[in-house]
Symmetry: C2
Subunit: 208 residues, 2 copies
Amino acid sequence: MMRAMATRKYEQRLRADAAEETRQRILDAVGQRLRDAPTEPVSLDQVARLARVARSTIYLVFGSRSGLFDAFADDLWARSGLSNLTEAVAHPDIREQLRGGIAAASAMFAAERDIYRVLFSMAQLDPDSVGGAVQKRERVRARGMARVGRRLAEQDILRADLSADDAADVLWMLTSFESFDLLYAARQLSLDRTVDLIVATAERTLYR
Amino acid sequence: MMRAMATRKYEQRLRADAAEETRQRILDAVGQRLRDAPTEPVSLDQVARLARVARSTIYLVFGSRSGLFDAFADDLWARSGLSNLTEAVAHPDIREQLRGGIAAASAMFAAERDIYRVLFSMAQLDPDSVGGAVQKRERVRARGMARVGRRLAEQDILRADLSADDAADVLWMLTSFESFDLLYAARQLSLDRTVDLIVATAERTLYR
DNA sequence: TTTTCGATAGACAGTCTGTATTTCAAGATA
DNA sequence: TATCTTGAAATACAGACTGTCTATCGAAAA
């Protein structure tokens, strides 16, 4: 019974707002669930109950489980101080840029350590399970480290026996969440101490 | 109908051998499965089929899923060059010990990178899921790094502004599987290059 | 009043895990 | 040879979770 009906235009201000709020409530529920028991697998049923939403709504809004985690990771990054990081990286002095970048990233990780831990581990185990959000961020980081390496070489800060690529490799390792976590969580160092050690390691290894 | 029956003694040579072989076949199946598709979750059903064994047999032999992975991790470590590592660490010169240890561990990781990746990620996500084998190994590593840090301090190799504990922290970070993997897998460096970079980073950061 | 659409509710097939329980078959013993 | 022992198979079952789909509600927009 197809009928050619002139479809009305819909502005849907209030409804779109409500939808956005639902979406955010689900993302918050994921965070809450992850914070409560980082070590236990997250079931969409739990998330739905926490967000006071039907499980089917999650599929409706995010399409899939991985879509949900993808959106969650993006949201987390945006909220937890991505701006601090980009600000730090804007510093004119490349040495300060490196120091500040490591400090900003570490503070960001520290604020939600358990959650980042889960996200990165999930991404390692199965990249698709977080939908690519982690890889996307890591690609940005890779470009950033290449840039820093180049700058250090250009400005003759780098040791003579190191190329810009070498520097990028070392920085890639040292500025990872993993390096942060090995000191901050596994070794229980304070945030400041963690940052100091990573920065010191980078500078002594790379600077002439 | 309890009957006090004199229980016979059983030598069971052949049968015990067969059991040991079954056990090993299951462990091999885990490895094979992991190598085939490191990114997909491992179901005991798949493992059982690969080992040509009933799924219930896995529970019979290993008690639980985590018991299986625990045994697998132990077995893997024992096979994949743990001896090389302990040999390297026996060198009289502490500097050679560090170099050799990093080289041996890296070679070990490289030989079965995908499997170690899964094991470490699983352990991060939920320590119980691998039954403690990873933690056990990591505790050994922690003691090792503390020892190296102490030696370096005693022999006055360490920079003046670093304590033995500081050195242990840095070494903990640099000798981790994660550091290895960030260079070897993520950055696609060769094994030699990976070892060189890690060793160089350690020496430049720690040595006076 | 009538559309439209975000969200609910429920059902369903499929995959996994753990835990029994029963039975088989072959090695060990007398 | 007859009998005991035990590793392993076979099977069943409850419970958790995923992804998909369909029917329906209810409130905002026209």
